[in-house]
């Protein structure tokens, strides 16, 4: 085939049109043998409700999240009874001293024999099996389904169950937010179980014990920033 001016110019235009241009989050480096395309996007650490992050080596910070619309409490920075919400406010609405609370699990967290433990929601239900907000806290435990959280739950947690979370005596229940795993070198890693707000409902199996069910309600349950409605200017 004869190469005409028109064909030649079309080929030049096609080569020019195939130039790679960098967009958001993309870096390019042109070389004689090609154009290397790289991403400047780092892995997304999505700030989901209840996301647990190691703070130092003995503390964990937990992003705010809701269970049936209620915010869990943590002990204040100096320890003691849980009185500070996960978003860093006190029960009276004032800002907690020391900012966002962290949970101190200490140098020797409760772990099972192979180094697994949990950060778990813990609460008690009322006479109608509804969550009592003042009892909603986050605890560290080796087993979320044993009464003391430290010993293997005899008679529970077997390989086959009816599902849900087995309740504990006294209408109490724990639900794991994240699993802690201690490595052979002693470092703690977190594996997130809950990535959104939660709903809870109990399926009573007697006066004292129930099967408990939790299901996600998605990012919509995240408290997020509260914006003040503004009045449009009329001037």
């Amino acid at each position: 085939m004869e190469i005409t001016h028109r064909l030649w110019n079309a080929a030049r235009a096609a080569v020019r049109a195939s130039r790679i241009i960098e967009g958001d989050g993309i870096r390019i480096a042109r070389g004689a043998n090609g154009t290397t395309i790289s991403s400047s996007v780092t892995s997304q650490n999505w700030p989901s409700p209840f996301r647990c992050s190691l703070n130092g080596s003995t503390q964990v910070s937990i992003l705010p999240g809701l269970v049936n619309g209620e915010m869990p409490l943590l002990p204040p920075s100096q320890g003691g009874t849980p009185t500070v919400y996960l978003d860093g406010t006190n029960q009276d609405g004032s800002t907690a001293q020391g900012g966002t609370p962290t949970l101190n699990f200490g140098a020797q967290p409760d772990l099972d024999p192979i180094g697994r433990g949990y950060l778990a929601l813990q609460f008690t239900c009322d006479d109608k099996w509804a969550l009592i907000p003042s009892t909603l806290t986050v605890v560290q435990c080796a087993y979320y389904d044993s009464l003391d959280g430290k010993t293997y739950p005899d008679g529970a947690g077997g390989p086959a169950t009816l599902g849900g979370v087995p309740g504990l005596p006294g209408r109490m229940v724990r639900y794991p937010l994240a699993m802690m795993r201690k490595s052979s070198t002693g470092t703690i890693s977190f594996f997130q179980n809950v990535t959104g707000g939660l709903n809870h409902r109990a399926d009573p199996r007697g006066d004292d014990v129930a099967r408990h069910f939790f299901w996600g309600v998605g990012p919509g349950a995240s408290p997020g920033p509260v914006s003040t409605p503004t009045t449009p200017s009329t001037s």
Binding site: A120, P159, G163, R181
Partner: protein, 364 residues
């Protein structure tokens, strides 16, 4: 006529420009080159991490011939009811010299357990043969694959001989040459129990019914044991083509032959393997192939089961005052007359009162 002149310098400049524009993958980028263009995507490591995220690796093994190794998959830890999931791994054998045993290894273990991918389905080849009703043997169309793969140069699936006869799906000269194989990764959760209906044949003259339908409990399915000796709550497996456990049909429940499956399962992902152009073989992927996961499950799961225990079969209706009728023959006659009613009662009861421990997965 004026003949256009292209200077060697112009030609070489265009070649250099063309070469400079050739895309090459850098950090966090994956390229899929095809005849129609080059697809640029972020590599999985750059995207949002989620439970069940799959990483694949080629594990060289000279004992596996002719491939020289096998593909394995590790998954980012996922949870069911807050418990970490396991993968069965063989231990012993070549490493320890002892017998090979299987243990369930947690996904959160320091050395992540890997699924060995060894069975593949072929979505491009014909699904088999059939009779067209006129005595002719015809090839069935292939199962096919997601449309994405046709954009990166995967061969078109076999259209089947009926379509070819109608002029559809005929191979063209410019047919892409990449091949595709698939395997499914799924999660299994044992049910608390499984049950089977059992039909006992009776004598209508003495028992007033010809069948009795009872429910028999079968032992719960025992999963693989973990290193600590406890049973695994839920585990991952790979198979060429996953199908959901089949629950009994209403007809089976009515006839008293229903057998409940002993596990619940959910598909996590399909792992597709894409060959380079013109692969030397298409039976199984070798090191030169590329893995592309297609996820079905993104989030951690909870599991809840129905807890419908079977009711005892109804007692048959009898007429106990006929013993003296016709020297006792009347009793047999009346029993036989009642038998169809009692049989229907048994069947309806078996249908309505069948045991069910089927579970449901839901995300959190």
């Amino acid at each position: 006529m004026k003949i256009p002149r292209i200077l060697a310098s112009s030609w070489n400049a265009l070649r250099r420009e063309f070469r400079r524009n050739r895309p090459m993958p850098g950090r966090g980028i994956r390229l899929y080159r095809g005849a129609g263009g080059c697809v640029v995507t972020l590599s999985p490591s750059q995207l949002f991490h989620h439970p069940w995220e799959i990483s694949t690796a080629w594990r060289p093994d000279s004992t596996i011939q002719p491939l020289g190794g096998q593909w394995t998959a590790t998954l980012r830890p996922g949870f069911v009811d807050g418990k970490d999931v396991t993968i069965d791994i063989p231990i012993g054998g070549q490493v320890t010299g002892g017998p090979v045993t299987t243990v369930a290894s947690n996904l959160t273990d320091e050395t992540a357990p890997a699924l060995v991918l060894s069975s593949w389905r072929d979505p491009i080849a014909s699904a088999g043969f059939s009779d067209d009703g006129r005595g002719n043997l015809v090839t069935l169309p292939a199962a096919g694959y997601p449309a994405y793969f046709s954009t990166i140069g995967v061969q078109s699936p076999d259209a089947g001989s009926a379509a070819l006869a109608a002029g559809v799906g005929a191979p063209s000269a410019n047919q892409p040459t990449r091949y595709l194989l698939g395997t499914d990764i799924f999660l299994t959760m044992p049910r608390l129990a499984s049950t089977a209906q059992q039909v006992t044949v009776l004598d209508p003259e003495t028992d007033s019914q010809s069948i009795q339908i009872q429910t028999v409990f079968q032992p719960a399915f025992v999963g693989p044991l973990t290193a600590s000796g406890t049973g695994s709550r839920a585990w991952l497996s790979a198979t060429s083509q996953w199908t959901s456990p089949q629950n009994p049909t209403p007809e089976e429940a009515l006839l008293g032959t229903a057998v409940q499956p002993n596990t619940d399962q959910i598909l996590i992902a399909t792992l597709w393997m894409v060959s380079p152009p013109n692969p030397s073989q298409t039976a199984a992927p070798d090191a030169s192939w590329m893995a592309v996961p297609q996820y079905e499950t993104w989030w951690n799961l909870n599991h809840a089961a129905l807890n419908i225990a079977p009711a005892a079969p109804p007692d048959p209706i009898t007429f106990p005052y006929a013993e003296t009728l016709a020297d006792g023959v009347g009793q047999n006659v009346i029993n036989s007359l009642l038998s169809p009613i009692n049989d229907q009662s048994q069947e309806i009861s078996a249908y309505l009162n069948q045991a069910n421990f089927q579970g449901l997965f839901f995300s959190i």
